[in-house]
């Protein structure tokens, strides 16, 4: 039997489509309504509410917490002072990514972390090996998490607490909603204005109700995981299990990826200025210096005319409605050689807002420059067809509201 999240009574009542899927052993709706597009546009046009409780949650405390995190995490934890959050990743000694996640220092020396897969024992082993005075606690079941995302998110959160106004992008605050202790962070997985709320499990339904009440006038819409995933491609956010896999359970290096290969070299911009001995440092430094990355991760914007053409020529309507896929799609070099394999797309969606198909793709470095043209293989009436696509800069969608100050006089 799958677990249910502490919001389940509310989620179940809202799930009009009656569809369920499993996420990390929990029962969650991939969508609540018949219209996925309506859920997607709640993110982009009004405000969406997503239950992300199935993420693994850890608390890291103790006098050596910062020392430990600066060893185990690849990105420098010094950039995450109290009241701030940080998108980060952790790697193995060979510089391959184990996981990514968001860490926040909710109080001096107290860090909370979300991860897609378990990492308690691994962290404890690293802590033991460095003799760190640190406590790592699995609090996965103690909290429910709600993501409140969309241009009207601030209009909702400001009705629930004064403490989240203003709240800078990637800042965190402890507050109360309906008398329940809640941690609010200005974070999310949609690329839009948004907040995430850590709520004690026993208070989950109380806070859900308060959020839904506050959101009523803003057309708040509970959304499932599929609309979220459509939005995250536009936002250029990678998904473990689709765009990369943990090095931990890979069989061969071909299945492993370094942070640089995932396009995260920005995490190491200050590497020359710090002497942190983080796990994987030697390998990552060497990769950066020797330029030994095997590929890189880029956004692909599919040429709209060409996409229309291959379907229209076959006599069918191009599939542009609610297409989201994590199946591998092959990419070829354009040139005289036919089917000259170059790489692959790991996620694909037909963006309703941007009106072009988008993909996240792995390409060799010589094809990674923005504007480079490649062929993406699609299937048209059961036959492979190549469609022109161009390397683009992610994020494809990056509204000013995402990082706007959202002071009291701000919008909504």
């Amino acid at each position: 039997m799958p677990l249910t999240t502490p919001f389940h009574p509310r989620v179940e009542a809202e799930n009009q489509a009656g569809l369920w899927k499993h996420w990390a052993g929990y029962l969650v709706p991939p969508q609540y309504q018949y219209s996925l597009t309506a859920e997607y546009y709640a993110i982009r046009n009004s405000v969406s509410l997503l239950d992300t409780t199935p993420l693994f949650k850890y608390k890291v405390t103790g006098s050596d917490a910062e020392r430990f995190l600066s060893r185990v995490l690849a990105r420098d934890i010094a950039g995450c002072p109290p009241g701030r959050a940080q998108y980060t990743c952790w790697c193995d000694e060979r510089g391959f990514v184990l996981q990514d996640g968001v860490i926040m220092q909710v109080a001096e020396g107290e860090y909370w972390l979300t991860a897609a897969e378990p990492t308690l024992r691994y962290f404890r082993v690293v802590a033991r090996d460095m003799s760190a005075d640190v406590e790592i606690e699995d609090v996965s079941r103690a909290f429910g998490i709600l993501a409140l995302q969309g241009p009207h998110a601030h209009g909702v959160i400001r009705q629930l607490t004064d403490d989240a106004t203003p709240l800078r992008y990637f800042s965190v605050v402890r507050t109360e909603i309906e008398g329940c202790p809640v941690v609010v962070s200005r974070t999310g997985y949609t690329g839009d204005l948004g907040y995430e709320l850590w709520i004690p499990a026993q208070d989950a339904c109380t806070v859900w109700d308060a959020v839904m009440d506050a959101g009523r006038g803003h057309n708040i819409t509970p959304i499932g995981t599929t609309a979220l995933k459509m939005a995250r491609i536009e936002a250029g956010l990678l998904l473990m299990g689709a765009d990369f896999h943990s090095s931990r359970f890979a069989w061969v290096d071909e299945q492993r990826e370094t942070p640089v290969e995932l396009g995260w070299s920005w995490m190491f911009r200050t590497l020359a200025d710090d002497d942190r001995d983080f796990v994987g440092r030697t390998a990552i430094e060497s990769e950066l210096q020797e330029r030994t990355s095997r590929w890189t991760t880029v956004g692909l914007a599919v040429d709209w005319h060409d996409y229309e053409r291959v379907y229209t020529d076959a006599g069918v309507v191009p599939p542009r409605h609610e297409v989201y896929s994590e199946s591998t799609m092959s990419i070829y070099r354009r040139g005289t050689t036919e089917w000259d394999y170059a790489g692959y797309a790991s996620s694909f969606t037909t963006s309703s807002l941007l009106r072009i198909p988008l993909a996240i793709a792995k390409l060799p470095l010589d094809l990674a420059e923005p504007g480079t043209e490649v062929d993406l293989e699609v299937t048209v009436i059961r036959r492979p067809q190549n469609v022109l696509a161009r390397v683009g800069r992610m994020p494809f969608f990056n509204p000013a509201l995402k990082t706007a100050p959202m002071a009291e006089e701000g919008r909504s």
Binding site: Y34, S35, R216, V317, P318, H321, L353, R355
Partner: protein, 529 residues
Amino acid sequence: MSDAQRYDAIVIGAGHNGLVNACYLAKAGLNTLLLERRHLVGGATITEEVVPGFKFTTFSYAISLLRPEIVHDLELVRHGMMVLPLVNTFQPGLDGEYLLLGADADANYHEIARHSPADAEAARDLDHIIARLVRALKPWMDRIPPNSLSDDPAEIAAMAELKGWFEELEPEVRTMFETFRTKSAAEILDEYFENDLVKSLYASSGIIGSRCSVRDRESGLVWLFHKLGEYDGEPGHWGFHKGGNGGFTQVLARAYESFGGTIRLNAGAARVRYEGGRATGVQLEDGTVLDSDLVVSALDPRQTFLRLVDPDDLPSDLVGHIRDFKFQGTAAKVNFALSDLPTFPGFEGRDDIFMGFTNLGPSIDYLMEAWADCEAGRISRRPFLDCSVQSTLDPDMAPPGKHVMSCFVMYAPYHLAEGDWETERDNLGNTVEQTIEEFFPGFSELILHREVVTPLDIERLIGLSEGNIFAGELFEDQLFLNRPAPGWNQYRTPISGYYQCGSGTHPGGCVTGGPGWLAARQILGDQAS
């Protein structure tokens, strides 16, 4: 005068087609001036904050037929284009019955099957054959139509291509096309459906904005026309633009300015200037003269040919066609600011029924009674209403918890048998209010503000002759080869350098943008040669 008064191109009328046309011209590098008589751009595609916090789509209220190429060519997404999907269509009856159709094909089957399992199955067949037909027609929506009167070899070839295309259509698609051209909506629906609620839901598309009944032959093509659009490639589906349809023309205005174009508001064109059969500029209503060898009218055919230029300078057959061009507006708008959503008995607290079109016209007889009043020269006593509560999808259209409701009204004939539109204005508003009240008891108590837009308002405010929302009827003798007149359906006029790009040209009204786009293609092609 100074150089500032001279432009490479002047476009008259900043409705959506004028904007689209001006965008393409400016993008091609022409120093372009767009003239607008009113204080805002958009023409019939505007959003106005009539009451603080409440945004009304004064005239047009939804989007579907907009040509996809325009969105890409003009990079409209970058300038804020966002079309929200209609989630549901609600067709309430007066007897407690209803149809609530949504995004799921199987759920829709079962919803229609409550009324008739055979109809539920027929709806699938009908929707699919229409989708196939629409796909076949699409290339002709997106190209300059052939000139049926020309002896130019290219035009003769294009006419032959058209004939060949028709002959090569798959037989059932061709048959369906013929059916739409020759039969009324009601006749076609009788072949597919038995249930009146189902029939009337489909049938209402056959009368939108047109002076015909669902039993008149013209309603077949009017219905088909309204299915020519798409949402995310889904044929026949509609959306609301963020911020109302005016949000869309604001996007176009931003795109236009990004291409370096200039807009002049409160600048109505009095006449187009020309000499020796060549356009030389525009004279504004205030007497200002602006010079340009290229002048484009986005106004309707009556204004383009009979007002802006002297019809005596035009060929008499063209003038005859334009004088006979049917406008005969029969539609009105009533827009409401509401304190809450209306309630359908049994559906208390259900917001979702309003997330799309709410179609008030539950039987063929209902629609025919509405038509009988129109024929008698009066407002339908029980009108067909196409209602949109845009604030259910777009929270920025109304204050939190409050709503705006746009109601498209059929029929409200421009030519009244008795009285005039000033005296009938309140009657129209009251009639609409009472009609909604019949379907949604308690509706009247929710009204915070009411705006009535008569056919005469449409004509006076935005210049659409006789208040025809499509800039001329969408009847077969006024479409494609004949829009606005045979031989003059390729955006040119008899005056060299003077072009037409309004909805009175192919592919027509309904916020397609096609006229503005295809006219620009013709203009830029002519300039290059």
